[in-house]
Symmetry: C2
Subunit: 351 residues, 2 copies
Amino acid sequence: MKIKRWMVITAVVLAMVVAGGAFIGLNFGSQPLAVSDKQRAAMSPDAVRLLDTMNSLVVPDFVVRRIVNEDRLKAEREAFATAERAVEDELIGRFRLTLTSDVIDGVPVTVVTPPSVAPDRRGKIAINVHGGGFFLGTARDRVGLLLAHELGIPVYSIDYTLAPEAKYPIAIQECLAVYRELVDRFGADNIVGVASSAGGNLLTATVLAAKAAGLPMIAGLGLFTPVTDLSGIGDSVVSNDGRDGLVANLRVDVPARFYAGDEPLDSAGVSPVYATYAADFPPTVLTTGTRDLNLSDIVRLTWRLDDAGVDTKLLVSEGMWHGFHWEPDLPEAVQTRAAAVRFLQARLTSP
Amino acid sequence: MKIKRWMVITAVVLAMVVAGGAFIGLNFGSQPLAVSDKQRAAMSPDAVRLLDTMNSLVVPDFVVRRIVNEDRLKAEREAFATAERAVEDELIGRFRLTLTSDVIDGVPVTVVTPPSVAPDRRGKIAINVHGGGFFLGTARDRVGLLLAHELGIPVYSIDYTLAPEAKYPIAIQECLAVYRELVDRFGADNIVGVASSAGGNLLTATVLAAKAAGLPMIAGLGLFTPVTDLSGIGDSVVSNDGRDGLVANLRVDVPARFYAGDEPLDSAGVSPVYATYAADFPPTVLTTGTRDLNLSDIVRLTWRLDDAGVDTKLLVSEGMWHGFHWEPDLPEAVQTRAAAVRFLQARLTSP
């Protein structure tokens, strides 16, 4: 067989693809985050250790478009839930939490109850909307477990239908149904809402929907590294891409596409940073970190609320990444949850 | 003449030095800040225009050590004051401000008075400590002028002795003398303090010194992109180097060296982020931006205050750089000053 030029080219290209595949590994490919001594020095040793093991997924956009499909998302969802179960079980044991399954207006809810509730907190509850990029996570969400213990009140964690099965606005409608029923049952003044990442998007949208429906506003919101803008703009979307475990093209763009459906990504419905707020929106504490890909999402929403006269508190943690608050014992996570809990408890106990 | 090898080498090296000099220009050398469309989209058009004209000074460390000397700092100080005079005069005219020179306990102070003071603000004043890396700036500081108008009260702007003539703690002692006298004259509850950049460092240290001296705490502090850590650590010192007009080696390290003298850069005296705070420290609003080289300085000080039980508010502006608040009409600057003014006025008028 005569070796033709196209054969050589094809062989080289194939070798590059195979080598590239091996290089990027099974998990799409990743590279360690750059952390210098000047950056380490301002963080806790635990945080440094975590950052040193954290990778930034490296996947070219054209690969993302081909390999990410609904089957892969579902597999990732199952792997995530399995990995989380061990952490959840440990927290449930450590804090002697009781978990019960409920269905509220057709929506499954996991109620997380601490072993005792202080007298001045009786009859008060939290609603939790878990994170996971709209397409993964469960109502056993470790943030809900941690906050049931740290707030010292029952947490109603909503098992909303995930994308891509449920497109906008299905999850919001489900959360709104639960909000309506719990406000009826406990009174809006006795409820705070907490949420992480994509859940922060859904909870903000839910409260806006509740207001549009004429429902009373709950006593406070805790939005932990919320995703507020699916349109992909903002300083940190560029500057923190590759500095956070979360990367823009795979972890933000894809979930956005699966969740938003035909809704424009810059509409107020899927991107609450573009919504209109009034002063009666609940007092809101927002958390983020200097490495968070969504830092800009969060500071921009904070300004929207602040300019509307809403009582806000922005907590930015040094060197912290997207979703860092869910680490049970990381000092920076403990610190930010404690500050958020102080904010929320003050709003729950005021007359 | 026979051409020897060392002559060729010398000529080549000289040519490289000259070419390099031309490349880096008279102003040490600079490169435009990288600003992408995704980042532009989340900022005001005015901010985009400013960022597009902003450069990051590029000076190798070994050059910095050789070229920066006291003579150069003094020349830079004079050029800065001359350039600022036109802006200051415009603001004085626009807001019909009256400037008078005073000397308080031996310290020169410029008193900036608005044309009228609302009845509920009579007898209330602000202390201003200007920025400028410890080595430049004057008490005519445009931030003091803007805040005299926006707070609607007289501003006592301190003309502290600059570094390198005055090393730590001379400027703090001067500010403390003014603090003591003004507290005597107006009462601590009728005073707020405002400061920019290096001035934020000095004002924080002054309030700590006032507390150590048994003086009463004033009603509130507004720290605008304060420098709180001269030791050079922190996430943003790395991640925002080259993204801000302020660069770490020339604009931070050099002033620190000229100001701190023999004081260790991580001592609480020159780096207030390492000081100990108590709950009676004045309520404090702190401002920064996602591009600020000192973002980490500011979030770290905010946590120190917050954890001590101090009433804090952190304002982080999208895409904004070190010292952006001093732009008179930039929408983001107007917004952040307005939020700081709301915070300070609420603390001034509470019983």
